[in-house]
Amino acid sequence: MSKVLILEPDTVLAKAYAAALQKSGHEVQITRDAQDAILAIDKSIPEVVVLEPQLAIHSGIEFLQELRSYREWQKIPVIINSFIPPKRLSDFTIRQLGIASALYKPATSLKKLIAAVELAVVT
């Protein structure tokens, strides 16, 4: 069982991901914006973050930059699960921000997301 933080602006999608991960035995917390996510991580460090970078007010990239600015959070694996196609993320961004994997949300089934989370935890 792993602690997963989902940062997803759409409630319906967030609940679907959370329910699937919980059914697979993971502990899940949902946040809808970057600020809440940072506060949530401060309270309880997750083992994986699943992130939609396309957020309102503060983007997911800003969130990642803040996340990586704290030494104790630098190793938390982050999975991008986004409407933005992965090819739009540069290799540099992926390396610099420690992105474990980048998924294209419309093509990512619940099963595929669970597999990505479980791989990120063990890697």
Binding site: L13, Y17, D33, F83, I84
Partner: protein, 229 residues
């Protein structure tokens, strides 16, 4: 793909296509999970997506007309109708809806169907905008009189929109994924379709203030017809 080479009339279509991914993905995941409980919420998202598509189609129809026929339209009736239709969605997003008309005035000159569609889109855009932190927020569908005419739109106590942010959004629309990040994580298709509908009535969308709230509104000319009480 070079976004700068996207033709102007394709931009709205592209934003619309991006926006439609969400309800379709919600349906796909609910089907995968066999989750019947989510169906009601998904139904609301799908209904608003259909509204968006219909409004887009309406905008292409009105824009193709050389002269759009305007008629006296009761703003209070339109705003009340929109408020009624948005109730379920508002509840889902933890919003209350109020219709606030400051003062009394005659009907406005507008294309009734475009006006109602545009107001629906504006209201919905604010409802699905930034996350609600406190227990409840209020979406106000409001109208007030100014020296330029009747300003009618959708307002909330968050987010705080500025004229500069909206001007930048209009310039960036079609070339960036999130033209109005202070309002939405999405493509903003609803706002720009509303903009197209308002513009077809020669009343373009602008940032406005109503009772200490900010929002998006349009300014209409009074019809000169006596309002019967």
């Amino acid at each position: 793909m070079d976004e700068a080479r996207v033709l102007p009339d394709q931009r709205l279509l592209r934003a619309l296509a991006e926006q439609l991914k969400l309800p379709l993905l919600q349906i796909a995941l609910a089907a995968e999970a066999g989750d019947k409980k989510a169906l009601r919420q998904i139904g609301l998202t799908a209904s608003m997506a259909i509204e968006l598509v219909d409004s887009f189609l309406l905008s292409t129809e009105v824009q193709s007309q050389t002269a759009l026929e305007l008629e006296p339209v009761s703003m209070s009736a339109v705003l009340q109708s929109v408020a009624d239709k948005l109730q379920d969605v508002a509840r889902q997003h933890q919003y209350d809806i109020e219709v606030k008309l400051n003062g009394r005035y005659a009907p406005v000159m507008a294309h009734a169907k475009s006006l109602e569609s545009a107001m629906m889109l504006l209201g919905h855009s604010i409802l699905e905008a930034v996350p609600v932190r406190s227990k409840h927020h209020t979406l106000v569908l409001g109208a007030h009189k100014t020296g330029k005419g009747i300003v009618a739109g959708a307002y909330a106590d968050q987010p705080h929109l500025t004229t500069d942010a909206y001007r930048r959004a209009r310039a960036l629309f079609g070339t960036v994924r999130q033209p109005l990040p202070s309002l939405s994580s999405a493509s903003g298709a609803g706002i720009f379709v509303a903009d197209a509908l308002f513009s077809s009535m020669a009343t373009p969308l602008h940032v406005a203030h109503h009772d200490h709230m900010t929002g998006l509104a349009s300014t209409f000319v009074e019809s000169g017809q006596t309002q019967l009480v």
